[in-house]
């Protein structure tokens, strides 16, 4: 009977995966190509997939950061930006760009679009799915390029690499230091919460569910179950049969979600530094609230708007100032695993 239940569950997840794949195919019709340079992608290249809306100020630093890590090509989806970011990207030699005016929410927050593009262009490549405000930090990232990590993962027969979202924030009110285009956002938002994360297991998909950090502390203290999920699996050796289920929080087949060790050991993992909380955030939050394009009836943005009116300081006496990956490793936010 147990055997049968296991089989039944796998089968249902399989159907679910097929469903998301068909949906991605359907949603792909919403995409219009702006600049397709995917012919330049070589075997073994590392690719970044990203969807964005009005992130022009962040794009230059975003591209530079990932180019420096050794990313070879960027596949981007522009969701109706009107700030010139689209033209900027279209002119970049290593960017392929699609655009769509369609609903972000109806494309399951961009997942359908990217699932499709990854299926088309990501097969057999290490694919990194990140937003323009997310910067990947992995063990030894200051001395070893991303390729060293993916080679090691390949050699270890590991197909997916977890990197938890770590919310970074400035000291003082959000709009105190304005962010200028191409700056390093970490020079402003360089503080984080070191140890207030709640973790539980999602038995259906096998992933961990992590909540906490400043967003939970400041915006969701009274309804913590609504706090946004921080677990992410952004780096995957992609196969065209894979699909992301909900943002990059979890994937199917579910074996890819097992980026944690259950027997007391630590697997290697990284951190996505989330630089959402800059002065641009206040404007963005107000805008997103009227667009109503975000997760769970935009609860997140409603909570932000409610608090942002009094211009809060996310910083507290126990906030930690970001130094490097080793610091995050010592604090237990990420791990080297057996990579030495």
């Amino acid at each position: 009977m147990r055997w049968f239940l296991g089989f039944w569950r796998s089968y249902r997840l399989r159907l679910l995966r097929k469903r998301w794949r068909i949906r991605a195919l359907r949603k792909s019709r919403e995409l219009t190509v702006v600049q397709n340079r995917t012919a330049a992608i070589r075997k073994g290249d590392i690719l970044v997939f990203s969807t964005f809306r009005n992130e022009d100020v962040r794009l230059p630093h975003f591209l530079k950061y990932y180019r420096d890590l050794g990313v070879n090509h960027f596949v981007m989806v522009d969701n109706a930006s009107d700030d010139g970011g689209r033209d900027y990207l279209a002119a970049q030699p290593d960017v392929s760009l699609w655009t769509t005016p369609a609903s972000y929410k109806r494309a399951r927050f961009g997942v359908d679009w990217l699932n499709w593009l990854q299926r088309r262009h990501g097969d057999g490549h290490w694919c990194l799915v990140v937003d323009p405000d997310e910067l990947l930090v992995y063990p030894f990232c200051d001395t070893r390029p991303l390729r060293a990590l993916t080679d090691w993962l390949d050699a270890s027969s590991i197909k997916s690499f977890g990197a938890m979202l770590l919310d970074m924030y400035p000291k003082g009110p959000l709009d105190q230091t304005p962010y200028t285009r191409a700056d390093d956002p970490l020079s402003i938002a360089c503080w984080f919460d070191a140890g207030n994360y709640a973790i539980s297991r999602n038995h259906r998909f096998g992933n961990l569910w992590i909540q906490g950090g400043p967003r939970s502390r400041m915006f969701f203290a009274d309804q913590p179950w609504r706090a946004p999920a921080l677990n992410k699996i952004p780096l995957v050796k992609w196969d065209s049969s894979y699909t992301y289920v909900s943002s990059t929080h979890m994937l199917l087949p579910r074996g890819l979600n097992l980026v944690y060790d259950e027997w007391g050991g630590e697997k290697a993992s990284g951190v996505l530094l989330h630089t959402k909380f800059l002065d641009t955030f206040t404007v963005k939050a107000a805008e997103e609230l009227t667009r109503r394009q975000h997760y769970a009836a935009s609860h997140e943005y409603r909570a932000y708007a409610a608090r942002l009116r009094d211009n809060p300081d996310l910083w507290c006496k126990w906030s930690e100032k970001y130094i490097n990956w080793r610091q995050l490793e010592i604090l237990g936010l990420m791990s080297k695993g057996n990579w030495a």
Binding site: F140, T143, R144, P145, R147, A148, D151, W152, A155, S156, G162, A163, M164, D193, A194, G195, N196, Y197, A198, I199, S200, R201, L208, I210, P214, S216, R217, A221, D222, Q223, P224, W225, N231, V259, Y260, D261, E262, W263, G264, G265, E266, K267, A268, S269, C316, K317, W318, S319, E320, G332, L333, M334, S335, K336, G337, N338, W339, A340
Partner: protein, 565 residues
């Protein structure tokens, strides 16, 4: 006399070429074996690139899949070529394309010249080696392995299982004692040619062809038959992790490799430009003299393996989420929980802080929010005092608190008035030192001026909660260090009890307590309990409290506090 290098290559051919040129420049002939799956065009390009080197030969190509016979066959063929083509070779060194000489080739030659009869090959009997991938050591030599471990794991495992079940055993050829060791050896011409020209070679090859991972046992076993002097160690620095896959060296290992004094290291990441530049570039950059001393590297990799297999105790994070029972410590360090002390003593928190130097919190699980030391809104790691956040995942709240304050000893108050989600977790945590004065929750009730009917309900509620908690503490699953006194017992000998508790925290060295905390005035408390009884409630957790104060000079019998472990 010189050293001949056999090099097994399967990818990163440009790097292999670089290393080959380095060996040849140092005066070592090289025989190259290129893995059969490498396509013809690539192979041809590689050969032509090395055309200008008469000291380089190519041997017949085999398919070298991990754990199979191919690697041995390749080494045999290459060794034969080497011995036939280069008569000046006395030692033959087996290396791979990702091996890199760390010391000048001259030094290796001198080192081997000084030990002309010595074979360097790690070789130990199967009973004595810990490195056994897949749990197979002796069985490598007695079972058959028709399936690939890498590609057909399921079939591999089933076939092993069935052979075990059926009691199948292959006979070992007479005179053979299976030995295992690192596949990277350096053998003398004498030993190697004896192995290759053994009249029984055909039979031995047939046997080893079906041994699992023969490259770790073929030469290791046969060398024992012919060698004069065996140094059972590999000259190649090669470290394996817990899955039996070699650790890789990167640019940031440069200093470590320099100080290792090893002759050859493996495996080098092909894109580690700085390593290749340093060790193959200028001979001055390489290191000098001394016996190989890989201790530091050993420690580094041993630590990495431990991190992967054991992890950091008490840490719950995105890539470590142990199942129950596998935590290797639910929390990261010892902490103390006090129940009833803050009720009985007026200034218990500040007194405890002074007496022990530990961090003393109030009721961390109070319904109004966590009472951190100094009643801060947030605490170490930006933990919030918000009760909803805390109770959302009380377990993680406690684990986080203890993890965030590594190096300090945490103390906090607990009681039946607090949220009880954590009750069983405390009881089951070996790091918890729990001291309970049962029934002390009645003291604040006794001191308030509330309606007696309310007090009676409240007392009944608290007593029920505390008795549930005590049940957890006394259950066979409890692993915490638990001390339970009834209130009546405790106030008989308060100092003795406090001393025990403070000694256990042990932060300030063992000293007698100089200062006692101030106990609240309990005059009339017995009467209060009697009133509760008269109202039909039965307060029993505080022990036998006489309704009338006891005569001053009648000493009641002392009871030792008991320890539940």
């Amino acid at each position: 006399m010189t050293v001949g290098i056999i090099m097994l290559v399967h990818n990163a051919l440009d790097r292999a070429e670089q290393v080959i040129r380095h060996w040849v420049a140092g005066g070592c002939p090289v025989v190259v074996h290129v893995d059969a799956p490498v396509d013809r065009a690539t192979y041809q390009r590689f050969r032509t690139a090395l055309d200008d080197m008469p000291q380089v030969r190519f041997s017949a190509r085999f398919r070298c899949e991990w754990g199979t016979w191919g690697i041995v066959a390749a080494s045999q063929a290459a060794a034969e070529t080497m011995l036939a083509a280069f008569p000046q070779v006395r030692h033959v060194y087996l290396a791979s394309g990702s091996c890199m000489p760390l010391r000048p080739v001259k030094e290796l030659i001198c080192y081997l010249d000084a030990r002309p009869q010595t074979d360097f090959i790690e070789s130990a009997t199967t009973a004595d080696v810990p490195w056994t991938v897949g749990g197979l050591s002796g069985e490598r030599f007695t079972l058959r392995f028709p399936f690939s471990w890498k590609r057909q794991r399921f079939l591999f495992d089933r076939s092993v299982e069935w052979q075990r079940r059926l009691g199948y055993r292959r006979p070992t050829p007479p005179g053979i004692v299976p030995h295992m060791g690192s596949q990277w050896w350096c053998l003398t011409r004498r030993t190697l040619s004896a192995i290759l020209t053994d009249p029984r070679r055909a039979a031995l090859d047939r046997y080893f062809r079906h041994v699992w991972i023969p490259d770790e046992s073929y030469f290791q076993t046969l060398a024992r038959l012919y060698a004069q002097t065996i140094e059972s160690r590999s000259l190649t620095l090669s470290k394996f992790d817990f899955q039996g896959k070699p650790h890789i060296f990167y640019d940031d290992h440069l200093q470590l490799l320099r100080r290792s004094d090893c002759f050859v290291a493996r495996k080098i990441w092909p894109r580690a430009d700085r390593l290749y530049q340093t060790f193959l570039g200028d001979p001055a950059g390489a290191m000098k003299g001394a016996e190989p001393n890989p201790g530091k590297i050993d420690r580094l990799f041993a630590k990495a393996v431990e991190r992967r297999t054991r992890g950091r105790p008490g840490l719950y994070m995105q890539s470590r989420f142990p199942n129950e029972g596998w935590e290797n410590g639910v929390t990261s360090s010892p902490y103390s929980v006090f129940q009833g002390f803050a009720e009985l003593f007026q200034d218990f928190e500040s007194w405890l802080g002074r007496a022990t130097g530990a961090r003393v919190h109030g009721h961390l699980f109070a319904p109004t929010g966590a009472e951190f030391e100094g009643r801060q809104q947030t605490f170490s790691g930006a933990l919030s005092s918000n009760p909803a956040l805390r109770d959302y995942h009380a377990q993680m709240f406690l684990r986080n608190l203890i993890w965030n304050t590594r190096g300090e000893h945490q103390c906090f108050q607990f009681g039946p008035g607090d949220s009880q989600f954590i009750s069983w977790d405390l009881a089951k945590d070996p790091n918890a030192q729990i001291s309970v004065i049962s029934g002390a929750w009645a003291i604040p009730l006794f001191q308030t001026n509330r309606n007696f009917a309310d007090l009676r309900t409240e007392a009944a509620r608290l007593q029920k909660i505390e008795s549930e908690h005590l049940k957890a503490l006394r259950s066979p699953y409890a692993k915490a260090r638990v001390r339970i006194w009834t209130l009546a017992d405790f106030i008989e000998v308060p100092m003795e009890a406090l001393q025990t508790v403070v000694d256990e925290i042990g932060t300030k060295g063992l000293r007698r307590l100089a200062e006692a905390p101030r106990m609240v005035d309990l005059t009339g408390f017995g009467q209060f309990l009697q009133s509760l009884k008269n109202q039909g409630m039965h307060p029993y957790l505080m022990g036998d409290f006489p309704a009338d104060p006891a005569p001053a000079n009648a000493e009641p019998p002392k009871r030792k506090p008991y320890l539940v472990k």
